[in-house]
């Protein structure tokens, strides 16, 4: 994809499909690296399916459960010298603490590093599409941090849904201001 923010959107959509009630998106960024982690409390994957998710053929055409999202994300990380890892606990084996964590490491100075792009828009799309999920976002930058927790917003908003247009545009501005302060 042309921007890593689109991959984040895609991976987080898997969490939504897995029935998660809480999704954590964390970006840890240094001058050299960017680590993107999406972790959820969804139903998780069984071991044999987990092994197959980085193979584009188990998922395309016939079943299309995950799509090419993970294989492409993995390729994009590896082409910068980085890597991708997925850990998952299936609900049948872990009724209390099931979920999936997908983590990708990128080396930013590699010529094939794809820019992060408009991550704010990706978040707004995710919140708009699934306003009942608790979205927790943190982006640690070399000189600051950006964060958002939709449960904190919900306390303030009361009955106003998170998907209301004025709330979404407020979220967008709020994140934009934090990025300006963090020097990004």
């Amino acid at each position: 994809m042309k921007e890593l923010s689109l991959n984040i959107l895609d991976i987080a959509e898997n969490s939504v499909k897995a029935g998660a009630s809480e999704v954590k998106i964390s970006l840890e960024e240094t001058d050299e690296t960017l680590k993107i982690t999406v972790s959820d409390n969804g139903c998780g994957m069984k071991e044999d399916f987990l092994k197959s998710v980085t193979d584009p053929f188990t998922t395309t055409r016939t079943t299309r459960k995950v799509g090419l999202g993970i294989p492409l994300f993995k390729m994009e990380a590896e082409q910068t010298g980085g890597s991708l890892s997925i850990e998952s606990r299936h609900v049948e084996l872990y009724p209390e603490n099931h979920g999936t964590t997908t983590s990708a490491l990128f080396y930013k100075n590699h010529i094939d590093f794809i820019p992060l792009g408009d991550v704010i828009s990706s978040l707004v799309v995710l919140i708009q599409g699934s306003p009942d999920i608790r979205w927790r976002y943190t982006h640690t930058l070399p000189h600051g941090e950006v964060s958002l927790d939709t449960d904190e917003l919900r306390e303030v908003l009361g009955d106003v849904p998170l998907s209301a247009p004025e709330v979404l545009s407020w979220i967008s501005e709020y994140l934009g201001e934090q990025y300006a302060e963090a020097g990004a």
Partner: protein, 108 residues
């Protein structure tokens, strides 16, 4: 023209040709796989320098009739096996994408 005919006329090297008689119509050139996925059309010949397993997946999804790997790129064993298994025609061209496309021009 057919995939086999294109390979012969353009001087490409067949790497995997399970369906030599498949009709080829139109051409798409690109290396960003997610981009190609949404734009290459069925029966196209697709010119690219990308030769990993995802190339085969995108070729299968977009239903192109022939993948031409430019700049002399070839397939390694595992990817070749996947192409054979999925019935994807793949050939290699010694030239860069532009020169490869110029050979295809007028034939597809």
């Amino acid at each position: 023209m057919t995939a086999g005919g294109i390979i012969e006329e353009c001087g490409f090297k067949a790497l995997c040709l399970p369906f030599p008689d498949r009709n080829v119509s139109g051409c798409y050139i690109g290396d960003l796989l997610s981009w190609v996925m949404g734009r290459a059309e069925s029966d196209n010949v697709w010119v690219t320098i990308m030769s990993n397993i995802n190339t085969v997946a995108v070729a299968s999804l977009s239903d192109v009739s022939l993948v031409v790997l430019a700049e002399g790129v070839t397939l390694d064993g595992e990817v070749l096996r996947a192409a054979e298994e999925k019935g994807i025609n793949v050939a290699s061209s010694p030239d860069a994408s532009f020169e490869t496309a110029s050979k295809l021009f007028g034939k597809v």
